[in-house]
């Protein structure tokens, strides 16, 4: 059975990386739980730590993402979309992107949403939308944006809360093995990096103790729509992300984890599709029929 053909019938819109891991849980509990929860995180984080540069920029990102989803869904799918996922994408952009300007929030949110409709293979979007949008901005607008995400303070309390909450969510979503593999790989490779660079080992561990990594680990690399299907495959991909990140780090790339996921994630999906197509019985290797109007 070919995964891509079944995927092609679903609308391309999906939750943003921050909360894709939520989908199985939320579907049982309440479809509106993820957006409510991320809104809660946003407000608590902002009121306690001031995580946002301004409300206006976050609102701008949310409105841009939702408007873009609405427009593209009507235009390509001729149906009204569920705007929960684009709302979450907008919030993700608002949290992860840092820029004194307004336009990067609009462009990043729209790029994230549009990438789901444009960059597709066999009916499946390869890039994690927010990861794509943010990486595109970092590649193309490094003079205007950054994601040095240290907004939630550097204190132990915030770190413990996020780790505990994230672990609970991810455990229930049955994707904890991805996080565990990535963390173990990162820690192992931090020893290698420290040995190569001669820097203190704790300086190599330091990034993973920050809030940006916590979001990255729990909500980005676990994205069900843009990770491979098998459990072992997911662990291998998590390790490869950490490995690619190590090379980016040795090249002194500030956004190493985002770039690693940007390159490894789609490559892993492409490999999985190729393997699946090879495994399929010869008689079933027929051209994929795209019922989804966004597909060519």
């Amino acid at each position: 059975m070919s995964q891509p053909t079944t995927q092609s019938k679903t609308p391309p819109a999906g939750p943003s990386p921050l909360f894709r891991g939520w989908t199985p849980v939320s579907s049982r509990l309440n479809p509106y739980l993820p957006p409510i929860f991320i809104t809660l995180i946003l407000f608590v984080g902002h009121l306690s730590f001031g995580i946002l540069e301004s409300y206006q920029k976050t609102i701008l990102a949310i409105v841009s993402a939702m408007a873009c989803e609405l427009l593209l869904s009507r235009l390509l799918l001729h149906k009204w979309p569920n705007l929960a996922s684009s709302y979450i994408t907008g919030i993700s952009v608002g949290i992860l992107l840092r820029s004194p300007g307004y336009w990067p929030y609009v462009v990043c949110a729209m790029l994230s949403i549009t990438s789901k409709y444009v960059i597709r293979v066999n009916g499946r979007h390869l890039f994690n939308p927010s990861n794509f949008g943010i990486c595109a901005m970092l590649f193309l607008a490094s003079d205007a944006v950054a994601t040095l995400s240290i907004q939630w303070g550097n204190n132990l309390g915030a770190m413990v809360v996020i780790w505990a909450l994230g672990s609970l969510i991810i455990w229930r979503a049955r994707r904890f093995h991805i996080c565990a593999t990535y963390v173990a790989s990162f820690l192992l490779l931090s020893v290698v990096r420290a040995w190569i660079t001669g820097d203190p080992w704790l300086s190599e561990v330091s990034p993973i103790t920050g809030p940006e990594y916590q979001l990255f680990i729990f909500f980005m690399i676990t994205d069900p729509k843009t990770t491979v299907r098998s459990k072992w495959g997911q662990c291998v991909v998590a390790f490869l992300v950490a490995l690619a990140e190590m090379f980016f780090r040795l090249g002194q790339s500030i956004y190493a984890p985002l770039y690693a996921l940007f390159f490894v994630g789609p490559a892993a999906l492409a490999v999985e599709m190729w393997i699946n197509s090879r495994r399929a019985p010869v008689g079933s290797r027929q051209p994929i029929v795209h019922t989804n109007p966004v597909q060519p």
Partner: protein, 599 residues
């Protein structure tokens, strides 16, 4: 026949358009900043921008090069970063001869500070040694970080408070003939690791009080560390810095520390502070820019301070505050506040803040909005000191910003390692041992400075290169003064591990000016806190005498107003700290007015 997927093609074009947007925005920005990157000769600059700055320190007899401190050996791997401050400049007419003098600090143990006496002939002569304010960085006493001048005993001569990482010092000015160290008599604490201080009369009793903002905690001796856990515990939320002091002047040569008693209680990492009456209450408010955190604005009700950073809008987004300068940039009788931060392409874009008061705020309150981006003064690299001043005498305040953090190897950057550690948990970032070694790498080094010209219509245009500001030293402090009584503002810049730069200003003929030298009687003698509202043609502008502003700097106490061409002066209204209001009519331009407070 196959249907052409127009919708899909349109979406794909839209997607490509989004990807191209950053390039378009960059091109637009490049067009706007073209003037900043093109150099002009003197005549062309005078014709186009109305002024030209010429570096003239050597010709003026000044060949000062700042020496950085060398701290405890355990900090060696990151020494260039932790020992990255100490260059400062303050302007004072210490001998009351009517010509501004210059005091600059040095920061290596055993190095000497310099007091450059204005010789009235275009040159300066260092008299610090003979007057007793040179040898102030002796081993075991810490080193200088800055200096602010104020006449604390109202004898008519400006006294010197020396800001140090170490033993703070107060020097009494003996009528311009020498200085006497009175730190013990004044009952100053034995050790403060401070980078900022400001003289102001917070309670209106006619005596100058002194605010000192700690950076490193006061129990840390940076030359003899007990351990290496002396770094900030967060890059944006650090609260483990030095304490704050407010020394209330008792009038008998002694000061009483009253900060906690009157509402100032913070351990953020203060780097800059200044005081001005921001709400028209007659009481000076205190603005503190903090590194590794939010700014603080202490509103003064005459007896107590109330921290209102969040309430007024300036204390919400944590950045790396390194400057506080006030200026009536819109000529509307209200002060805007310029706070410098860090911007580095591809790494960290904090953006500087230009806090402009919103219209329509209720009486005795103020609400600020950040218009730095809209007005074009947002991106200034790793920004440090900045000052407002009318450099071309066109009637609007311009902005001079210096920048650059650590300039070492041009080809290798420390930024990656810096961000690696900055986002980490407090237990890691707070220990200097965990910081990767700099190994001779630069951190936002060799940066071009910014001279933003106010167009009077809400925009600033960077003309630095065009008007002769081409240095790329690691700038720290900026001060402005009419050094040679010519009716123009010259600019003095102190650079870390670099030379003191003296930019001599030439303004195109035809633009007028007026200056005020205020002297208090029932108010403090320095007239710090006195505010002049000058009205001419259809404009008005306020300026206030300051006891310290910018970063580790103090401008000349004399207030300089550019007036533009075809001037019709109306009046100057002086609001003295005592509450007296004095109106002066029949003013003529191109003249320095010395005004004594009416008794």
């Amino acid at each position: 026949m196959r249907q052409i997927p127009w919708a899909r093609i349109a979406v794909s074009i839209f997607f490509l358009g989004l990807l191209a947007t950053p390039a378009v925005m960059r091109w637009r920005l490049a067009q706007r900043t073209l003037a900043a990157h093109s150099t002009l000769d003197r005549q062309a600059a005078l014709a186009r921008h109305g002024f030209y700055l010429e570096e003239a320190s050597h010709a003026a007899g000044i060949d000062f090069v700042h020496q950085a401190p060398t701290l405890d050996a355990s900090l060696n791997p990151i020494m260039p970063e932790v020992a990255s401050m100490g260059a400062s400049v303050s302007i004072v007419d210490f001998d009351r001869d009517g010509w501004p003098d210059i005091y600059v600090t040095n920061s290596a143990e055993g190095s000497k500070n310099h007091l450059y006496r204005n010789m009235h002939d275009g040159t300066f002569k260092d008299v610090a040694e003979e007057l007793g304010v040179a040898d102030v960085n002796q081993r075991g006493t810490g080193v200088s970080m800055g200096a602010v001048w104020g006449d604390y005993d109202n004898d008519g001569y400006e006294d010197l408070f020396l800001i140090k990482w170490g033993r703070p010092e107060l020097f009494h000015n003996d009528r311009g003939h020498g200085f006497t160290r009175v730190s013990e008599q004044a009952e100053l604490p034995p050790w403060i690791n401070a980078n900022t201080a400001v003289w102001f009369d917070y309670d209106g009793d006619g005596l100058l009080d002194l605010f000192v903002g700690g950076y490193y905690p006061e129990d840390v001796d940076l030359w003899h560390l007990k351990n290496t856990r002396m770094m900030p515990d967060s890059f944006e939320y650090a609260k483990n810095g030095g304490r704050k002091y407010l020394f209330h002047n008792l009038g008998n040569g002694k000061f009483e520390e009253v900060s906690a008693k009157i509402g100032i209680d913070s351990r953020r990492w203060a780097l800059a502070s200044s005081a001005a009456d921001l709400r028209g209450t007659g009481h000076p408010d205190l603005f503190v820019a903090n590194d590794y955190g939010v700014s603080e604005l202490y509103l003064n009700d005459g007896k107590r301070f109330h921290e209102a950073g969040q309430q007024t809008g300036v204390g919400f987004a944590p950045k790396s505050g390194m400057n506080v300068a006030f200026g009536d940039i819109l000529n509307d009788g209200h002060f805007a506040v310029y706070v410098s931060n860090i911007s580095e392409n591809g790494a960290l874009i904090q953006g500087n803040n230009l806090w402009v008061p919103k219209e329509g705020a209720p009486a005795n309150t103020v609400l600020f909005e950040n218009l730095a981006r809209d007005m074009g003064v947002e991106l200034g690299g790793w920004s440090f000191g900045a000052q407002f001043g009318d450099l071309n005498n066109d009637g609007t305040l311009d902005l001079y910003l210096t920048n650059g953090y650590v300039s070492l190897d041009r080809t290798r950057s420390y930024w990656y390692d810096f961000t690696k550690i900055a986002g980490g948990n407090s237990s890691i970032i707070g220990d200097a041992r965990d910081w990767p070694a700099m190994d001779g790498r630069s951190l936002s080094g060799y940066q071009q400075k910014h001279v933003w010209l106010n167009d009077g219509a809400g925009r600033f245009v960077d003309v630095a290169q065009a008007v002769g500001v081409t240095d790329t030293y690691d700038g720290r402090a900026v001060a402005m003064a009419d050094l040679w009584n010519r009716g123009v503002l010259d600019v003095i810049v102190a650079n870390q591990r670099g030379p003191l730069l003296l930019y001599r200003n030439t303004v195109a003929p035809g633009s007028h000016w007026i200056e005020f030298d205020l002297r208090g009687s029932s108010s403090n003698r320095s007239a710090i806190g006195a505010q002049v509202e000058l009205a001419w043609n259809d404009q008005k502008q306020i300026q206030e005498v300051s006891g310290g502003s910018g970063f580790s700097a103090q401008n000349d106490r004399r207030l300089h107003f550019g007036l533009g061409k075809n001037v019709q002066l109306k009046s100057a209204v002086i609001r003295w700290p005592s509450g007296k209001v004095q109106r002066i009519d029949s003013l003529v331009p191109d003249k320095l007015y010395t005004v004594e407070e009416p008794r």
